[in-house]
Symmetry: C3
């Protein structure tokens, strides 16, 4: 399988075989990181971030540096000041003449597609608009697989399913693995109908509820997401919802022993810190898994493997 020079814009462009190949590669890096410490020596990765995303940025930066490569970075402030006088495609053209690959973060849907069209080097979508964030989805899948909770798994996606970029991207990939998906959200934040219809059309097993408590004993994976105050015009309404969708050790008492809890982070109030101590809590592991997954993607698109 050859990923050299390939853009990574959305997991929806990837087949199951391609996803598995990336996850297998990530596993190799995870097991023997030292073996690859000079793999990208002399290569340069450009991070072009038009909006701040510290976590995504330092995760890519760490991955690149663990492979012996170097990073140049256009920060959010600079990028926006560039933006004043220059269009995205000019910036990408110049940066692509300096670097061997580009990670782009941009507030607008489709920005990474536009960038990929003008760039002679591969572009990795580090999140654009409400659309896609493929490396987040790949690390989510990697985490599930590592915990032996991927094929045919029962998974609940919980919280803000209306605006959450992460879950929109993940849900499609889950259908490759015959996952049984339960959507758990308050009505105000439920998954868009067109996505649900889409998933059903491609044969996905999906149901909806608003009752977190009832779902917990059933599932193998509990994928929590943040519920943002700004989504609610009425603060009382927010408080009510936030209270119901807050995971506590008490709620977890009915969970399967080997169930795992995931969260794309940062979390705010939706997971009680006491949950961190439970064996089910895997969200910090999940963040850590971003490193081997991004090492795999960088090495593959730069043709180093």
């Amino acid at each position: 399988m050859n990923f050299k020079n390939r853009d990574i814009l959305s997991t929806r462009d990837l087949t199951r075989e391609e996803i598995d190949y990336i996850l297998n590669t990530a596993e190799k890096f995870d097991k023997n990181p030292q073996e690859f410490s000079d793999l990208l020596k002399g290569r340069i990765l450009a991070l072009v971030f038009y909006e701040p995303s510290t976590r995504t940025r330092i995760s890519f930066e760490t991955a690149m540096k663990k492979l012996g490569g170097e990073v140049i970075s256009l920060g959010a402030v600079e990028a926006s000041s560039i933006a004043k006088g220059e269009n995205l495609s000019d910036t990408i053209r110049i940066v692509s003449s300096y670097a061997d690959a580009i990670v782009l973060r941009h507030p607008k849907d489709g920005a990474s597609k536009l960038a990929a069209e003008v760039s002679p080097v591969p572009v990795i979508n580090g999140g654009d608009g409400a659309g896609h964030h493929p490396t987040q989805t790949l690390l989510d899948l990697y985490t599930m697989r590592k915990e032996n909770k991927l094929e045919g798994v029962r998974i609940a996606l919980v919280g803000d399913l209306k605006y959450g970029r992460t879950v929109h991207s993940l849900i499609y990939a889950l259908t490759f693995y015959s996952a049984k998906i339960t959507l758990v959200a308050p009505e105000e934040l439920s998954m868009p109908r067109d996505i649900i219809e889409d998933i059903k059309r491609i044969g996905g097993d999906i149901e909806e509820t608003s009752d977190l408590k009832e779902v917990i004993p059933e599932v193998d994976v509990l994928y929590m997401t943040r519920i943002q105050k700004e989504r609610f015009p009425d603060p009382n309404e927010y408080r009510k919802v936030a209270g119901i969708y807050r995971l506590t050790p008490e709620l977890l008492e009915s969970a399967k022993e080997d169930m795992i809890i995931m969260h794309p982070l940062p979390r705010v109030d939706e997971i009680d810190p006491r949950v961190d101590e439970t064996p089910q809590a895997k969200y910090f592991e999940q963040a850590k898994n971003g490193i081997p997954v991004r090492m795999a993607i960088l090495s593959l698109v730069m043709g180093a493997l």
Copy 2:
């Protein structure tokens, strides 16, 4: 020729022989970058930027990293916050005890000269005030030479010739190469008289016009620059001028086939994006040429060659 520990403050301090030597060195890096990937291993370059200049910064950073060196960076915000409590010379003294060379960007004319006086390590002027930007001039010359358009060339400098730092620096260097220079600017933005007199005194071949259309068929190099709205008290006046000095494929129809178009970038409206597809468009190449030129300068002043 020995550049070790030499400050690069202005191209006017350089002889033609020295410029040629730098360009020859850049050519070596351009042809075989891999050969030099460990040349500056263990060395540290400090970027001290008192005003933002993303392009200059990432170009130097890329050049240093392609040579195996490391970069430490004082960004614009930090530098200005330092500036509150500390004078430039204290900052330079400390940074020069950490690094093997310094690139300084500063809003005031002469700042890099002051820095060079207190620094035991070489200082490279990354642009100070309206004065000098020697590495930009060197990459301009390198681009012209690479395109076989330097010795005795007919060149038009177009746009804002009054405030444009780039053209003020380039015009002197062009006289070394017996270039025939045509200045093309609206009256409000014409080249300062003292520079024109200076160039004539040293034997330069120089003439002035405000008619871009008439000049295009004559020249080998069309060096475009940005016309900034802020220079015009009357927005109507700006629109009129911007319209006249906008390069389009239609205007280019009368151009020589092997003419080249340059621009220090970022461009705004002065070059129609459709021009990018013409064979004459060389401005992205020009930006790319900044890397080998800066690799050459860094290696030379650090005494690694």
Copy 3:
């Protein structure tokens, strides 16, 4: 002596033997930096700065890079934007899964202790609140020792002794070396009583005065600190004090020939720039000494020595 995985939170946690061991290690790096240029190859240092501190940041960054290691950095702006949605301990947990050590700068006392509790990798306090800044103290001690002015030395601490984090941290360490300490401050900025009592209780030799002039001929080390305008409600009061505690070549005429002047920098008006030319001025040397001292600390806590 084994420092592997040890947090460096305060010099008060260190014994004299441990401090000496760190200073001895720093001396090795100072004498033969090249010998250690690959010592931390493949390791990553995370700089997590919740308030700007350019000097501390680039000093650690330089130290890490001189050892062949890599740096990832959460800047002040990013860190504070993280802070909005996420607590310090979550940030540290994630960063510690990417990096081999963390340097934390934080406005609150005790932040680095909290970070150390959740981090599996060593945490180095890069300054927290009014509390501690151990690497500054270690580089101060290293500078004194290098100048042969540590054991039994007569030292004056001058300026803002009330709020100055640096002197609060240094004064305790000095008692290990039987220093004779004179505190020189205006009444408004005198050393807190509890610290003075503490030092006396552990047998420290300490006295107070407000007369800088009288002290100069007596001492081996003159440790100056900045007096900040903001500390004074009345600007006239500030000007009076700032005038009295300003070091000039004239004031230095009565000093011992081999006396040394130190300052944590940045200085503002408290040292006349003409003093820079005197043989006693050692503050730029002191800043430079931050590099080998931080190289030593990084290598020790990462277990590379």
